[in-house]
């Protein structure tokens, strides 16, 4: 990089830093608002361990996503879908001597009524293993006359969620999509004995059919789907990691 370009880049970085970089839209977020509703801080708790903390209200949100990048412009990668009650996240064993950027965003979207599924006993058999599973890939089943509404509102709640048991470790879910403008769909499950739902698949917009191959702890579980939109992102919190400590890795 030439000296003049470096100087200009430094000036732009300074301006961008003052604005939280939000003025420079990243390719994955062309329509995001630039103000913040959540305040995020990151602390280096060891040379290669980060602890994130955030506060702020997000009325009506289903939870928050925590994202990271190692370049100011991204790409941003989602680390977790955190329940609304969660206000910290530990990102461990980081790449040494590298710049990390973090942000959090609430996500919204009404969840369907859950369906309970009890699968037959048995493991994924060799025969089932060798089936084509053509029912499993995410797809859109077009339905005429379905009313749609903005994804964040209650009228976008998915209806008619059905779970068809395909074999001892496979379930095909179908539902009616009432959302418009959603960024995608989450399929969430709550295995029996667990307290809360968690995403088990992240699906594209307009998907309303998906086959899940289950894990051993999902023989009895509740499932639901929700369209997802993202809210205002937090400030961007940054840290630079130190050297990898001896004995780590």
């Amino acid at each position: 990089m030439s000296g003049s370009v470096r100087a200009l880049a430094a000036a732009v970085l300074a301006v961008a830093g003052l604005s939280g970089i939000s003025g420079c839209a990243s390719p994955d977020a062309p329509r995001e608002p630039r103000t913040t509703g959540t305040v995020l801080t990151v602390t280096r708790v060891s040379p290669v361990d980060a602890k994130l903390s955030w506060h702020g209200k997000a009325p009506g949100a289903a939870g928050r996503i925590v994202e990271f990048a190692t370049e100011p412009r991204g790409p941003w990668t989602i680390l977790t879908y955190a329940p609304l009650s969660q206000t910290t996240y530990r990102h461990p064993d980081l790449i040494p001597e590298t710049h990390f950027s973090y942000r959090v965003r609430p996500y919204y979207g009404p969840a369907s009524r859950p369906v309970d599924v009890a699968l037959p006993k048995g493991a994924f058999t060799k025969a089932e293993q060798q089936e084509e599973h053509t029912w499993a890939p995410p797809r859109t089943i077009r339905r005429a006359g379905v009313r749609t509404s903005p994804a964040r509102g209650p009228a976008a709640t998915p209806t008619d969620l059905r779970a068809k048991i395909m074999h001892a470790n496979g379930i095909r879910f179908t539902w009616t999509d009432h959302a418009e403008g959603e960024r995608g769909y989450l399929l969430e499950d709550r295995p029996r004995g667990d307290d809360s739902f968690r995403p088990v698949a992240v699906l594209d917009p307009d998907i309303n059919s998906f086959g899940l191959i289950t894990l051993p702890n999902e023989k009895r579980a509740s499932y639901r789907v929700r369209p997802v939109t993202y809210g205002e992102r937090s400030n961007i919190a940054r840290l630079t990691t130190g050297e990898r400590p001896a004995g780590r890795g």
């Binding site: 470096r6 200009l8 732009v12 970085l13 790409p75 293993q129 599973h133 890939p137 699906l203």
Partner: protein, 202 residues
Amino acid sequence: MSTKYRVIAGISAACGLLLAASGAAHAEVEPGGWSSESPGFKVQERGCGQVDNLTFTLTCSTASGDQRAERRYDTYNGGTHQFEGYFRVTSMGGTRISLKQTFNDTDGDAGPYFMLAVERGGRLYAVHGGDTLSNAGTVGATVRVNTVHDVGEEHRTYINGSLKHTVDSPGGSFYDKFGAYRTSSGNGPATVVWSNVKFWRK
């Protein structure tokens, strides 16, 4: 052009410079001295494997033989090499599909050296040894992979920014591969979409 649009255009241009400058300065990870490179590659389709640009599909559930859809990059000899890429398993009816490999291409020692694979449910694991690296491979989730291979010293694998696997490396010749590849105990069908793939060396 109105003042408002001039200001927007100015900000856009500045952002463009910022993005270009930051991309050049901060793209790679780990301490500096890296040079970006663009190794050549060959597309490999075997059995029911199909490649469409960066979408890699195994269309069958056949649990034997070569079932692979991948890019095989040029062989490197010595030095330190970094790979970065993002994958998304968009559908997975089968299980135990290898996503990224570092292959030993040294005469007498040729063969897979490191293989990152995904099991149904999203478990990411190292095929050699079976260590679980992460559970981030859920269908539809985008996962970032960085590998740093210091030939003759060490091969490190980072999943979503965290160090998850380290293995000693012999010297010799190696190459990178990624896509969707049936492991010896696995089978399709599966579709994996890769994006933002980059290479550096020093």
